[in-house]
């Protein structure tokens, strides 16, 4: 109403402004300027940076695959970490997620389960990896354990949400046939959530694979250690070889994931 003021019998159109939105954009722009000055970013530095970047890329080319044995060894270890972390993580997540589902469980069960999920999610996997390196020593075991923790935090939460979203109608129908509780689960609940569970698991496998290439930086096994060492020795052509391999492995993994999802759609 207030947008259309009438004068002289003609209606005027005044477009409505979203002041809150406009102010938010202005604040964001002001913040951007502030941080740019804070980090001392100016054209000259950018110019030097581009120069150095070009030189850096030049040194990365061509990728050097001479030390392929080292590369393959690290990559296999990363894959192993990802597989183990996902397997153990999923096995532990199933009960935690189930217990955290508020439509199936009473509050005194869901609260502790949710506390576990929050605890597992609160730290970055690398920080968890640091703690595990201290506890079990350098190597793939620490990396696997760190990623197990990350997996529990992520999958349990999604499991619980998926279970909370199921349609109760199908459960009602199965209960009406006089089926035992376990059959209500296998027919009424599982078919509804299975496809999504598989999706979560494949997503987590993907995410664990990406992270397993990184935990090596703090000594928790996998290709990350090799990569870090190559950086420190300025072997940039080996660095690029490792990066290309990581991208390739992850793209293959995405393909495998797609097949897996089709199989269990």
């Amino acid at each position: 109403m207030s947008n259309a003021a009438t004068s002289n019998g003609k209606r005027k159109y005044v477009p409505k402004r979203n002041w809150a939105g406009t102010i938010a954009y202005i604040l964001l722009a002001a913040y951007l300027l502030y941080v740019l000055t804070l980090f001392d970013i100016n054209l000259q530095r950018m110019y030097v940076g581009i120069d150095r970047g070009a030189e850096f890329i030049g040194r990365m080319m061509p990728p050097n695959f001479e030390r392929y044995a080292l590369l393959i060894e690290g990559m296999l270890e990363s894959l192993q970490i990802a597989v183990i972390a996902t397997t153990v993580g999923v096995i532990l997540s199933l009960p935690v997620g189930f217990l955290a589902a508020r439509n199936l469980m009473p509050a005194w069960v869901t609260w502790p389960a949710r506390a576990i999920i929050v605890a597992c999610r609160s730290f970055h996997p690398v920080i968890v990896a640091i703690l595990f390196v201290k506890a079990v020593g350098f190597g793939a075991l620490a990396g696997s354990m760190a990623l197990v923790v990350a997996s529990i935090g992520f999958i349990s939460k999604l499991f619980a949400e998926a279970i909370e979203e199921i349609s109760l109608k199908q459960i009602e129908a199965i209960r009406a046939t006089g089926a035992p509780f376990s059959s209500v689960i296998t027919y009424g609940v599982l078919p509804q959530v299975m496809g999504r569970f598989i999706g979560f698991i494949s997503y987590q496998l993907d995410s664990n694979l990406r992270n397993s290439t990184m935990v090596g930086i703090v000594g928790a096994g996998g290709i990350g250690g090799t990569l870090f060492a190559a950086f420190q020795r300025f072997d940039y052509d080996f660095v690029s070889a490792i990066l290309i391999s990581i991208i390739a492995v992850i793209m293959v993994a995405e393909g495998v994931n797609n097949i897996m999802r089709k199989l269990y759609r």
Binding site: L38, I84, F123, H124, V126, K134, T213, E254, L263
Partner: protein, 274 residues
């Protein structure tokens, strides 16, 4: 009736109803075998030193003993400024990522950009961005720009482009065709169709993606300091190198507090804008 049932092909398979077709069953079976094999091989070949594993609980107890009580005085000395820097890294990184992600997201959406080559280029950019971890991006940018928060912000930005761009592209692809068609029939130019047709539809999704990523970036920027890219990670890594576990504990507690505050903030903002 009888003749009819005999002619009916389903009558013949009556006795042997199975849940899956043979092809489905074989592929599933193969899949199980491969999965199991991968798990078994991984379990067998992974390097586990049993002494270390047995020692783990004791080591953990020792670590927690050294951590408690946390060194509170470390907060004003070193943590506070580093924490602010971390927040700046995450925010600046997210903002730079938005600027880069919007064009790439538009390029990857097949309904908006009807050019297979551009789609593929965009997809390649997104996959590369996501495949390389932010820590690895940080290593790269430290090598290029030298140590410091700027390298961290760029690492965050380059890692986030893939995430924001992919989800933004998907949101564009899922937008309703109706309004777009209506705009096309008015003869509107491409840019108007973008701003009037697509943008209002994807706006809430877009900001919720950005918020989600900002939340993730805050956690990620906290570790970038481990490779010299600024922020709280620098304080953490100094404390770790000197084995000052009470300081490590203080850093971890501060991180927890920030993450909790941000989570509350994000939920509130999301409620407001959605």
């Amino acid at each position: 009736m009888n003749q009819q049932t005999l002619d009916n092909p389903t009558f013949l398979e009556k006795k042997n109803w199975t849940r899956f077709t043979p092809l489905e069953r074989t592929s599933r079976f193969l899949f199980y075998v491969v999965t199991l094999a991968a798990i078994v091989v991984s379990m067998q070949t992974i390097e586990i030193i049993p002494e270390f594993l047995i020692d783990a609980p004791e080591q953990f107890a020792d670590m927690f003993n050294r951590m408690w009580p946390p060194d509170v005085s470390y907060y004003p000395d070193s943590i506070h400024d580093a924490m602010l820097e971390t927040i700046h890294i995450a925010t600046l990184g997210t903002l730079i990522a938005i600027i880069m992600a919007i064009p790439v997201g538009v390029m990857v959406a097949e309904n908006v950009t009807q050019n297979k080559l551009l789609n593929w280029i965009a997809r390649f950019i997104l996959v590369s961005s996501r495949s390389i971890n932010s820590l690895v991006w940080a290593l790269l940018f430290v090598a290029i720009l030298g140590p410091g928060p700027l390298a961290g912000a760029f690492a965050i930005a380059f890692r986030s482009v893939g995430f924001i761009g992919k989800l933004f592209g998907e949101a564009l692809e899922e937008s309703h065709k109706g309004p777009i068609e209506a705009l096309h029939t008015t003869g509107a130019p491409w840019f108007s169709i973008m701003t009037m047709g697509y943008w209002p539809q994807v706006l809430p999704t877009f900001w919720s993606i950005v918020l989600f990523r900002w939340d993730i970036n805050l956690r990620e920027s906290a570790v970038l300091g481990l490779v010299g890219a600024g922020g709280i990670g620098v304080a953490l890594s100094t404390a770790l190198e000197l084995f000052f576990w009470d300081r490590v504990c203080m850093v971890l507690l501060s991180m927890l507090a920030v993450v909790a505050i941000v989570e509350l903030l994000v939920t509130q903002i999301r409620k407001r804008i959605l």
